[in-house]
Symmetry: C2
Subunit: 555 residues, 2 copies
């Protein structure tokens, strides 16, 4: 590890302990470090990929090339293909390279991984366009989430792993006074990697959600098989290509990281996950499959599944800013975020303000206005909403208008000025009574939000806590000006292992979790058993094993 | 927390990071700090307990008193009874006290727990006699393991929990430059305890194995229900009594720790474990029940189950000392230790020494001689062997003589000069071929050891690794003078997550794992999923949950 890399690791570890703002990569596309032509170059590179083989990956002995991606903006196939390996080939490659990778020092592993991020930085715009045209994210989110923010999360995982593997001494002299003599042992400890790691990606955040597990497994010495969602391969394929390049450059076998390609018709995840040699599994996706993976014997499994996120409205001195903030959170990437708010609990008596109560109806009207205002603003709406990744989401949106409850706002399509064929849906807003648990106790993935009329703020909190405990939650927003009530809300939600964002107004949204500071998913409720990046996320990837021997032979 | 307590915590945390020798409590009964009459006082106290109610525990609303302990030395009932609560009462008490205990500061929790250990120190001799007469351990082991060593492990868990809960800042100011302005958030994080903790004890090490989980759960804010084995209650009852006293002295509700009494005929563990409010389970015992507990949904489970421990003989320059060491390890507490060696792998060509090979037969003869020499030594045998805790173990010993293999040494009873009725069994030694996997691939709990004749040392290592991977292992002994072979043995066993002790000769045994230094059980093979005390052992008992809010209202 060179001095610069060493400094990066040191700074990153400090940031983990400080939890103040820290980032290694500018999040704005116009930042100087990316250069004037970076955006155009990235867009052109992406256009040229369409219809071609992605030929940057290790592909010896690959007999087939396949790919099934489709752009939600173009609504046509990208026709990009990738080398295909059988599950047996992937496992046998992984087993082969495990020997050398586990014996590579933590410093060398860290250097290689940091190098891969440095190269990735030059491809953030390629990744941005790849992400837009597989996930439907808007350009800005696609750049930030898949590029700099994902790279920050990768560095966070590298630093956390580096810290944990070096946490205990490699050797110690154990000297125990026994009265007339001392018992003296030389001891050693090793952080022993568990084995092949499988990272299963999702279709909406192909790099941001997969990169932490990928880098956490690698830094702790485990080879990784990345199995992306067949609909969102290119962004993570670029990451895997850069990792393979960094490995090869360092004289390592590139197969330490492999890309596993499958199709919706012939998925291979179960076969890989069940293989005895696969010891670690990272997964982002639906709860049903996540629960199945968590139940597999002999595996260490890290999941982010589905949840039901709540917002609790109690009081505010800036009602319009508050509702504007929530309207943005609901619209952002058309609600296709695990952190998007769904259930907004409002007491039937309305909310307190310094000028008296604002009634439920008035709040509901403001929500309708603010959402319409945003989606109908041609300079904002199409870019904030992005496109709908999966056709099933459109059907869910349609069905949601038939849920029992009062439709306050119907979903419609808006035109994207750059992509005539973009698949778009604006939010549905429903009013629901607090006893209609069957409506609001499941995740309604997509741009679907519910205003739930409760008896009191206490009932709002009780319902939000119960939903998080029973069905999981990844975020919670709350608006409250009373300190005792704030403490009550945070205390109750903390028991349901759900972080709370209070009184967010302009420029910061409940959807966002920052690397090095916010623990993303807590691991403490059904929304997932893992957290980016708490110590558990890295230490469960290796085992501390000791060795000891008398210091003087024969004693 | 006063200065002295603060210093103890500081020293203990340093010891965890150094992993050199550290102990807070003298392990020798004749140490000055215990006083001249301590032993006699402890013995008298124990004698007086027989036939009585153990009246030191919280017992309001207990309607019954029960107890089923029997001394393996006297082979008669102790007739000591304890207050009995229903599972519903235990859970409802736990839920009630959770509110105050989770809100008690980590410093105050640490102070109370350290106080309980200070009081416990004055009762080490009572605990020693209680342990002897429930587990059958010899006096010295009963004193050391249940007293000072268990207290060290408790302090280790307190220190590890203290370190982890304080690892991240309680608050931070997050200040992100956004170009024209800075986005500023005040953030907070809390280590939120998971809920009621159930600690399920075993009959052979009632305090040593239960204390780490008990103290780890308490320091991290979880109330604990201790459910001992009905045959070994008194030692841990004393611990619970001292904890309840320390809690009451600090103005806390004593029910933060409760003792759950049941019987072999009407066990309550399943009912407690399955209760939704029980979030944490610590367990020591057989693999079948351990696997069942590990499979429970919505629980964090820490297990130490059964394993098959191996010894690999390759080469030595002190063959007699080596075999004497192993003979002692086999005899110690009649093999009723989770760390006792069972399978001793020896190449059919024998082992290397500076004076040439020693053949398999000669080694086998030396084993027989050394074991006989130890058990027939009236000043050593009865005290090293102790007594057999469970009659089933005696039957297992008898049956083992009918296993396919050659009986090199039969088990017999020896007389204990102090207890005429002691239930004793000396070791069985069998010779087995390396293809008789069905004989040596299961735990033969008790004084049963197998000499397994292999094709080569490589096969010995392969079998030891495979057994550990498939059936679990907690210890591994190896004798080897060749550095490359030592590395090979440690490397292979480390992949099976099994610590290796090399070339132990006089005064130190593979059975012993020291607090603050040796990780007891690694958590990486089927012998158990937890380790005393790695960071995982404490951090899985709480969840990091964050809160954030704009630093300036309205932004």
């Amino acid at each position: 590890m060179n001095d610069k890399q060493h400094q990066i690791i040191k700074d990153a570890i400090k940031a983990i302990y400080d939890r103040t703002f820290f980032s290694q990569y500018p999040e704005h596309p116009s930042s100087n470090i990316y250069g004037d032509t970076a955006d155009a170059d990235g867009r052109n590179w992406f256009k040229e990929q369409i219809g071609k083989k992605f030929d940057e990956l290790y592909c010896e002995s690959a007999k087939q090339w396949q790919g099934y991606e489709e752009s939600p903006y173009l609504q046509e196939s990208l026709d990009i293909t990738y080398p295909v390996f059988t599950p047996e080939q992937l496992i046998s490659n992984g087993t082969e390279v495990f020997e050398s990778w586990r014996k590579t020092s933590i410093d060398e592993r860290a250097a290689i991984l940091i190098n891969s991020l440095e190269s990735l930085k030059d491809r953030f715009f390629q990744i941005a366009y790849a992400t837009m045209h597989t996930t439907g994210q808007g350009y800005m989110m696609a750049f930030q989430a898949s590029g700099p923010h994902a790279a920050d999360r990768a560095l966070e995982a590298i630093a956390a792993g580096y810290e944990e593997v070096n946490r205990f001494p490699k050797k110690a002299f154990w000297d125990k006074p026994m009265g007339k003599f001392n018992l003296q042992l030389n001891k050693e400890w090793r952080a022993v990697p568990k084995g092949i790691s499988l990272v299963v990606g999702c279709s909406t955040f192909p790099t941001w959600n997969s990169i932490p597990g990928l880098y956490a497994s690698l830094i702790t010495g485990n080879p990784v098989i990345v199995k992306p969602h067949p609909g969102a391969v290119l962004p993570i394929a670029i990451v895997v290509a850069e990792l393979q390049r960094a490995l090869s450059d360092a004289g390592q076998d590139p197969r330490v990281v492999q890309l596993a390609i499958d199709s919706l018709n012939a998925p291979i995840t179960v076969q890989l996950a069940q293989h005895t040699d696969v010891k670690l599994i990272d997964y982002t996706g639906n709860s049903e499959f996540g629960d199945y993976l968590e139940g597999l014997k002999g595996k260490t499994v890290f999941t982010e599944k589905t949840g039901v996120n709540s917002v609790i409205l109690h009081s505010t001195d800036q009602a319009d800013k508050m509702i504007s903030n929530l309207a943005f959170s609901i619209c952002l990437y058309s609600g296709q975020m695990c952190t998007a708010p769904q259930n907004i609990f409002i007491s039937k008596d309305g909310i307190d303000t310094p000028n008296g109560k604002i009634g439920f109806e008035e709040i509901a009207n403001k929500f309708v206005q603010q959402i319409n205002g945003l989606v109908d603003n041609p300079k904002a709406g199409p870019f904030v909403l992005g496109a709908i990744q999966n056709k099933n989401t459109c059907e869910r949106i349609e069905r949601s208008e038939n849920l029992s409850g009062k439709v306050l706002l119907k979903s419609r399509s808006i035109e994207n000025p750059m992509f005539k064929n973009a698949r778009t849906s604006t939010p549905v807003l429903l009013e629901v009574e607090s006893d209609q648990m069957e409506v609001f106790s499941k995740e309604l993935f997509g741009p679907i939000a519910l205003l739930i009329k409760t008896e009191s703020v206490e009932q709002s909190v009780e319902l939000a806590r119960e939903l998080a405990e029973q069905h999981g939650a990844i975020s919670c927003g709350a608006y409250c000006m009373d300190e005792a009530m704030k403490e009550f809300i945070f205390d109750q939600m903390s028991l349901a292992a759900t972080p709370v964002s209070f009184n967010l107004m302009t420029g910061v949204y409940v959807n966002q979790h920052a690397g090095f500071s916010d623990f993303h998913v807590t691991g403490g409720n059904p929304a997932g058993n893992a957290s980016f990046t708490n110590p558990e996320f890295v230490i469960k990837r290796f085992t501390w094993v000791g060795k000891r021997e008398p210091a003087v032979s024969g004693e």
